[in-house]
């Protein structure tokens, strides 16, 4: 379980994250939703220590992450798998080497075992047989999926996904969402997913935080989200005509 308590962040004068608190449950898919630029990625990056926070606490199973020394942080980070919004695959390495990378660094598996694991992960994101391609040779959606394969390669305890299915067609989107949900339950991972895709929300939204202008504006699950009377959330959810016609009471 990961809990954040009253975290704040400013870039210069502008406060981007305001006093956000939330609990991310283990074994469930926790969603952070909100419109573009509201501070979702910033919250995620603060949680893994890529942005310093101005104040607040980030508790990984009770340990206050920002206060740990660099060795302590590294220990927790070895248990984190993260999918960046831009993929962040290593350009100089093939797909296989990318996925193999965390295994190479942190496990004592044999070559064959590592290759098995790599192929297994690639197959789960439907990239089997693409081992020898370089990131530059992949499409945008394939990069996303490859990055997800790398994030789950070393069986993370905490999984962070920044828009795992932006740039994917609806069918592949659902496959990726289901994959994340499945491994979350299978390995009892604490998974946090950023998305602004309502499809995903309805598919896997078990524990949702809606961020509005840097604040935790609303929290709940997918059944509550459709009946909300929170104006900002309502506007966000029912922004499209489709949602309006099909779900509005």
């Amino acid at each position: 379980m990961i809990a954040i308590k009253n975290i704040n962040k400013s870039f210069g004068e502008r406060q981007v994250v305001k006093n956000v608190s939330f609990e991310f449950t283990q074994g469930k898919t926790n969603l952070i939703i909100g419109e573009s630029g509201c501070g979702k990625t910033t919250i995620l990056k603060m949680m893994v220590g890529l942005h310093e926070l101005n104040s607040g606490e980030i508790l990984y199973d009770g340990q206050n992450f920002p206060l740990l020394n660099s060795d302590g942080k590294q220990e927790i980070r070895k248990k984190i798998g993260m999918l960046f919004q831009g993929g962040a695959l290593f350009d100089s390495q093939t797909l296989e080497e990318n996925v193999n990378f965390p295994l190479d660094m942190f496990t004592d598996l044999t070559k064959a075992e590592k290759l098995d694991r790599v192929n297994f992960c690639l197959q789960r994101v439907q990239l089997e047989g693409k081992n020898k391609l370089y990131p530059a040779e992949l499409s945008g959606g394939m990069k996303k999926r490859a990055a997800l394969a790398r994030a789950i390669a070393n069986n993370p305890k905490y999984l962070f996904c920044d828009e795992p299915n932006s740039g994917l067609d609806p069918k592949t989107s659902i496959i990726i969402d289901t994959l994340i949900k499945d491994i979350t339950e299978e390995y009892n991972i604490t998974t946090i997913i950023i998305t602004h895709d309502m499809n995903s929300v309805m598919e896997i939204g078990e524990n949702i935080m809606f961020v509005f202008k840097g604040e935790n504006w609303w929290a709940g699950d997918k059944t509550k989200i459709l009946n909300t009377d929170n104006k900002e959330l309502f506007d966000f959810v029912f922004a499209s005509e489709f949602m309006k016609t099909f779900f509005k009471k």
């Binding site: 893994v48 980070r77 070895k78 993260m82 960046f84 290593f90 942190f106």
Partner: protein
């Protein structure tokens, strides 16, 4: 920005770079890779420049010594001294600063802006050490080899030009390059080039590592890397020369 800010941040980065490696096997593999990418790919430019410079120094020496009182073997002697003392270490490293330095800064800078360095950090990897240490180590291993090769090829270039242009005979040249030879000067040159290898790789990595922004800033980092490593190379060359020779 304030130079003390950069100096402080540079040394703090070095402190991170020289922490204990997390996985020895991977580091060894990376070092070998860097030896290839920094050293072996520089062979053609090192060879071409050294041969030409050797030839040019020989012709200029022969031209300058145009006096019946000075024996012609001095041409070979001058070529050897210039190559060993200054050209094969300092000038060659200046050229490598252009090639290797800009390469390193843009590689690491691109990794920074596309969040690849963040990805390393998140995996629990000491990104500074993982990315920079193999480059520094690889350069320190391979630069002395390049320098020795450059000395040799410079003398060969001098021989070809000197003899073919009639500046001196083959015998005089060969006699000249052996005359009054002091081995410590080669050691001096190698010590210099190891220092320069460290400067080029660490300074360029520094500028790459602290790139922020987009592609434009990567270009700027790469320029800074070359400019500042060149200045530092000249500064340290002066210090070495003052300490050991003048």
């Amino acid at each position: 920005m304030n130079p003390f800010f950069h100096i402080g941040r540079y040394f703090m980065l070095l402190f991170k770079v020289f922490k204990k490696p997390q996985n020895f096997r991977v580091y060894v593999r990376q070092i070998i890779f860097e030896i290839d990418s920094i050293g072996i790919t520089s062979l053609p430019i090192v060879a071409i420049i050294s041969i030409f410079m050797g030839g040019i120094i020989t012709i200029q020496a022969a031209y300058a010594i145009d006096s019946p009182l000075v024996p012609l073997y001095v041409v070979g002697f001058t070529t050897r001294e210039s190559m060993i003392l200054e050209f094969s270490s300092t000038i060659l490293c200046l050229i490598l600063a252009g090639k290797v330095g800009s390469n390193i800064a843009s590689e690491i800078g691109a990794m920074r802006i596309t969040e690849q360095i963040d990805a390393l950090e998140i995996m629990g990897i000491n990104s500074a050490s993982y990315l920079i240490f193999p480059k520094v180590a690889g350069a320190i291993i391979i630069f002395p080899c390049l320098v020795i090769l450059s000395m040799f090829l410079g003398l060969v270039g001098g021989f070809i030009m000197g003899v073919s242009s009639g500046a001196c005979t083959a015998y005089e040249y060969v006699f000249g390059i052996q005359a009054y030879f002091m081995p410590w000067k080669v050691g001096f040159s190698i010590a210099k080039c190891i220092t320069f290898a460290f400067i080029i790789t660490s300074v360029s990595s520094y500028y790459g590592y602290y790139t922020s922004g987009g592609a434009l800033e990567v270009g700027r980092s790469s320029t800074n890397a070359v400019v500042y490593s060149s200045i530092l190379i000249l500064l340290f060359s002066l210090i070495y020369t003052k300490l050991f020779i003048g």
